[in-house]
Symmetry: C2
Subunit: 216 residues, 2 copies
DNA sequence: GTTTACATACATACACGGATGTATGTATTA
DNA sequence: TAATACATACATCCGTGTATGTATGTAAAC
């Protein structure tokens, strides 16, 4: 082969990322060699080593591609025009809608949950996940605090703990979702699955009212 | 070295299992070679291949050691002498007590959540986890159905979905627990973390009443 | 109660493949 | 013509599985 134009090169870079995403999801990160990826992409390891320094670099690049989508998901959490309880409710639904609609999000979440080790050599991943988790919980906590100020929270609910619980519930549901991808139970009954926790946190189904200050 | 007595042999077998558990948890399963384990145990690969056929066999044997503890946990779920809601409540607390008290349970759960891949070559693990998850959810559902017959459930709650939600919440909390092992927040506030979901599922805090048929 | 014969519980040694990283080749393209 | 975008070739190491060695425990034979 010979040299390609810059556009074509960028194209092969994306092809490598797409292919790696597929193979990582099918075989697991550690069990996948760079030769596997190159072969699946119809290229050679030379192409990979040209665009990336090693497997970890490739993996990180591949994961970074979904950051904007995840960020835009969180952005709507802080929209003050909507009742904070409703914001959380919609945010939960938006998360699973994203998971349902985007095969890429699904695969990368799947790789993180089931397809890679996060200890030892991959410990940086773990640290990243911890900080990401804390940020996420902080955002949830912020919205819950806002709800508390508007007297939407039940009296015995601590916003910080509710944030941890909600985040854990999301994580657990995503995990169950990924375990059986073809089972649509969670997707079709998401409201019924989330309702109990919302019921236990908020007063009088206020999360179903889009108005900014429904209660009080 | 020479031959040891049967007792000593059994002892080295357990030493290998203990050591593998440690190293797998520290470095991850795929990143750990049999030579690593043997060296950490002060033995050689010969000892491992004598007692186990390969790494997967060793890993399975290591995981099987916690089955009785997990089973005894579930056994108390079906004790009809106690209010089903209370049974679920106590079961949730017992799970985290076990996680807190037993380093072995903690490590093996940690390995499953963060230290091993469950796709590709390790897919049997995934299938096992799926069937285990379904069994667990079925048990929870059974207790919830029992609660429904006693009119302890809120009217709009579906036992099957509540079982999935409860199980996911447990899984997510365990994951958060394992991510930051030295953070005792979850352990110290478990009741406050579980309460919302119970509040959303059951009527009038009936899970705090140990009597068999508190409601109706 | 020895002795003998075999099984046991490993350690050591070897052969093999496979993965990595790098060095080099090569045809474009800018 | 020089940098680019790869493919190819090479050297190295590491992990596995197995084969073999070996000293001891163990049980039966005598």
């Amino acid at each position: 082969m010979a040299r390609k134009t810059r556009e074509e090169a960028e194209q092969t870079r994306h092809l490598l990322l797409d292919t790696a995403e597929q193979v990582f999801w099918e075989k697991g990160v550690a069990a996948t060699s760079l030769a596997d990826i190159a072969a699946a992409a119809g290229l050679t390891r030379g192409a990979i080593y040209w665009h990336f320094s090693n497997k970890l670099d490739l993996f990180n690049a591949l994961c970074d591609r979904i950051i904007p989508e995840l960020d835009s998901l969180d952005a709507r959490l802080l929209d003050p025009a909507i009742n904070p309880a409703t914001r959380l409710w919609q945010h939960g639904h938006a998360m699973f809608a994203l998971l349902h609609d985007s095969p890429r999000i699904r695969r990368i979440c799947g790789i993180h949950h089931l397809g890679c080790e996060q200890v030892g050599e991959m410990a940086p991943l773990l640290l990243e996940q911890i900080s990401w988790t804390q940020e996420k919980q902080a955002k949830l906590q912020q919205v819950l605090l806002c709800a508390q100020e508007q007297h939407l929270l039940r009296d015995d609910v601590d916003p910080k703990l509710a944030a941890i619980g909600l985040h854990s519930l999301y994580g657990g549901l995503i995990h169950s979702w990924l375990l059986a991808q073809d089972d649509r139970t969670i997707h079709h009954n998401l409201s019924a699955l989330l309702s109990p926790y919302f019921e236990g946190i908020f007063k009088e189904r206020c999360w179903l009212q889009p108005l900014p200050c429904a209660a009080e």
